[in-house]
């Protein structure tokens, strides 16, 4: 398939007669088409044979992974890159349990997924039948909701509800487990037009009085700061946030999940906070008198688990669509429940310029004192230099996915994201093996955009089998491997907190990544110096198809700044600065 052919054609739904008698499997696929699903990612097996038989010749595009985990992370990457729900299909038993990490990853970062699993026929349920697993039980704490379909007549309604629940309020994964007999059964197909779920009515419109309290808190503040999280991106309110920040003059910190929610190169952009965040952001939290959290969740990589000492001088305002997030981690002065977009729209009507001139001068001084930096003096290729080069050569316009570990932090530090949905990373669960398949999903979603997957040598090997997808579909994902020949982040903690006792972090016996790529029919490149790095990277960018580029980097490099777990944000270790 060429890149042009990938430009998604809107799937044409075959004419469906209301009441036509069809199988459960056909009803499932028609329901997906009616939900405007473009791609499904998946892997077949015994219990989903009826679904895969219906897929044969269907209008739905199915992407075959080489492991169910690859499929679900790809669906997740598709969802993060578009805001539309990702769809994944797996069989019963091991197929379903292989999805578990992917479901939990999506749940932690509030990503809309519709996860479809097969199960054994209902006469075998509970008998420990071949490939039987209680996936609704297993996935109960890691889904927004899940369903076990007992009757084919319920199937279309359940699919409709699943898409509604996954994509509204605080988004998240919804699992539908369908036993084989339901997929084989036949019934008249009726797709409901509306959804009516009695126990599910997210509060979207903000309380006006609370919005007024927000406005007056801003007018009283001398040192206000906004902390924008993934909820800004989920609600599609980057424009409103930009307008709000510019109108009020309040500087903006983006959390890791919020990178791109506010332009990283904007004069009011402060950076990102927490364990490996920048000095100015952490100083802003320590010194602000008003902290406006928007669609964030005050996670322990930012509060360091010391919630009483977090933002010690500030009134905290917390805006979120999920009331349970408010007051969960930090005490909140003004709770503001609602869809971030609607809250910001309401706030924009009354917002006025705050007097932040002196405050911003101070923040700029802090930023100038300790920008993200590293020492480039060993003669070895520095991983940070590779990320800087990738940023420069792509004008900051690529979609960049990361895996988890040091390279993830360096990407967040040295690539400035100006657009939402362009930094794709497993923030909450911290799932190694996520980044590469997520890039595949993002590339299917955006065939005309440059998609770069930044990996470490450890995490890449957790789902490297998905090279088969980028090869088979010839999709032009550029896979970057920062190879430090070890599990860098674990090694860093062993160096700093375990007295240099490097336990099980040596990855020297990894494959030759160039040969590995070539074995899959993908272009493979390697660089060991800055000069080579630039040369092979330009070659990869100019190559029309997929490419794997291995950068052999300094192995002992640590991520700085660093705030050790259990300490507070004023205890930043700056490392080797420039």
């Amino acid at each position: 398939m060429s890149r042009d052919m990938l430009v998604a054609q809107k799937p044409e739904v075959p004419p469906i007669k209301q009441g036509e008698v069809i199988t459960g499997a056909d009803a499932l696929l028609r329901s997906l088409l009616l939900e405007n699903v473009e791609y499904v990612f998946g892997y077949p097996g015994g219990a989903v044979l009826p679904i895969y038989d219906s897929l044969y010749g269907s209008h739905l595009k199915h992407i075959l992974s080489r492991h169910e985990q690859g499929a679900i992370h790809a669906a997740d990457g598709y969802a993060r890159a578009t805001g539309k729900p990702g769809v994944v299909i797996a069989t019963s038993g091991p197929g379903a349990t292989n999805l578990v990490t992917g479901i939990a990853t999506a749940q932690m970062d509030s990503i809309p997924l519709v996860v479809i699993t097969g199960n054994v026929a209902q006469n075998l349920i509970g008998t420990d039948a071949f490939q039987e697993a209680d996936i609704t039980g297993i996935s109960l704490p890691i889904t927004k909701h899940n369903y076990f379909v007992r009757d084919i007549k319920d199937l279309p309604r359940i699919v409709k509800e699943a898409f509604h629940i996954a994509t509204t309020g605080r988004p998240g994964p919804v699992l539908i487990d369908i036993p084989k007999d339901v997929n084989n059964a036949k019934a008249p197909f009726y797709y409901p037009e509306t959804v009516n779920i009695r126990g599910y009515n997210p509060t979207l419109k903000p309380n006006k009085m609370q919005v007024d309290r927000l406005i007056s808190a801003i007018s009283e503040a001398k040192k206000p700061v906004i902390m924008a999280g993934g909820g800004v991106i989920a609600s599609g309110s980057e424009k409103e946030l930009l307008e709000f920040a510019e109108k009020t003059g309040i500087p903006v910190i983006c959390t890791l999940m919020g990178l791109g929610a506010f332009p990283g190169t904007h004069p009011l952009a402060l950076g990102w906070p927490g364990m490996h965040g920048n000095y100015a952001s952490n100083q802003a939290i320590l010194n602000c008198d008003l902290l406006i959290g928007i669609g964030n969740r005050f996670d322990d990589r930012i509060t360091m688990g010391r919630t009483k000492e977090f933002a010690p001088n500030a009134k905290i305002i917390h805006i979120d669509v999920d009331p349970a997030e408010i007051g969960k981690n930090v005490d909140t002065f003004i709770p503001l429940v609602g869809d971030v977009k609607l809250v910001l729209e309401a706030a924009l009507e009354k917002a006025e310029k705050a007097d932040t001139t002196v405050w911003i001068e101070q923040l700029k001084e802090w930023d100038a004192k300790h920008p993200f930096s590293y020492k480039n003096n060993t003669g070895n290729l520095k991983p940070q230099a590779v990320i800087e080069m990738i940023y420069e050569t792509t004008n900051g316009e690529a979609i960049v996915t990361t895996d988890v570990g040091q390279h993830q932090m360096w990407t967040a530090q040295f690539y400035k994201f100006n657009q939402p949905r362009s930094f794709i990373s497993s923030g909450g669960l911290g799932t190694m093996g996520f980044g590469f398949p997520a890039a595949i999903g993002a590339q299917f979603a955006h065939p005309d955009r440059l998609v770069i997957s930044v990996n470490g040598d450890g995490g890449f090997q957790m789902n490297q089998q998905e090279l088969a997808i980028i090869s088979g579909h010839n999709i032009p994902v550029k896979v970057v491997i920062l190879n430090n020949k070890c599990l860098g982040m674990v090694r860093q903690w062993q160096e700093l907190f375990y007295d240099n006792r490097y336990s099980q972090v040596d990855l020297t016996h990894s494959p030759d990544f160039v040969k590995l790529a070539e074995a899959y029919g993908v272009k493979g490149l390697r660089a060991e110096t800055e000069e080579e790095a630039r040369k092979v990277w330009m070659e990869a960018l100019q190559h029309p198809g997929p490419a794997v580029v291995e950068f052999v980097v300094e192995s002992g490099e640590n991520v700085y700044p660093m705030v050790a777990a259990g300490t507070t944000l004023d205890q930043m270790h700056m490392g080797d600065e420039k």
Binding site: T136, G137, L140, P141, K144, H145, F148, I165, I197, R198, G199, Y200, D322, P323, A324, G327, K328
Partner: protein, 164 residues
């Protein structure tokens, strides 16, 4: 750490109890007792959960319960006047010589003897947990063979109702 009684109206669906129990388990909330049964509306069940925790924890319990799709309504009953009752069945050693004495203890509790055997009796009592505790302690010296309590079910006093 105070005791709180929460009334939860839920869909009468397979797995709902598991969802609620799982939520309490994974977030480290206590369940002192939980009762489930039909409600005034067909298709909905009512759970009454007694839990222990500070105000912040109870706020989280309530909010997290609300997030479950099968939960229709959540109300903390113990924040206002309520009636809370549980049922006790207690099998106590009772010889012909002690039967009358035991009956004398049971009577002021408005409890009743629902089974009499040659060596034992079953006492049934209804009331709040303190009353059940008190009766149990009075019967303990006679020898408790078996004890079963339903856990608390409750509702608010007055007109106000936890309705969908």
């Amino acid at each position: 750490m105070e005791r709180h009684t929460i009334s939860v109206l839920v869909n009468d669906q397979p797995g709902v109890l598991a969802r609620v129990a799982n939520l309490f388990g994974r977030r480290g909330f206590n369940i002192d007792s939980i009762t489930v049964g039909p409600s005034e509306e067909k298709g909905l069940s009512r759970m009454v959960i007694v839990t222990t925790g500070d105000d912040k924890t109870i706020e989280q319990v309530t909010k997290q319960l609300h997030k479950l799709i099968d939960v229709i309504k959540v109300q903390e009953l113990s924040s206002g006047p309520m009636v809370a009752r549980e049922i006790l069945l207690l099998k106590v050693d009772a010889s012909p010589a002690t039967r009358a004495e035991i009956s004398g203890i049971v009577e002021p509790f408005r409890a009743s003897i629902v089974d009499v055997g040659p060596q034992s009796m079953i006492v049934q009592a209804t009331g709040d947990s303190e009353k059940i505790d008190a009766l149990t302690e009075l019967l303990r010296p006679y020898g408790i063979r078996e004890l079963a309590r339903t856990g608390v079910t409750a509702m608010s006093r007055g007109v106000a109702a936890v309705r969908a």
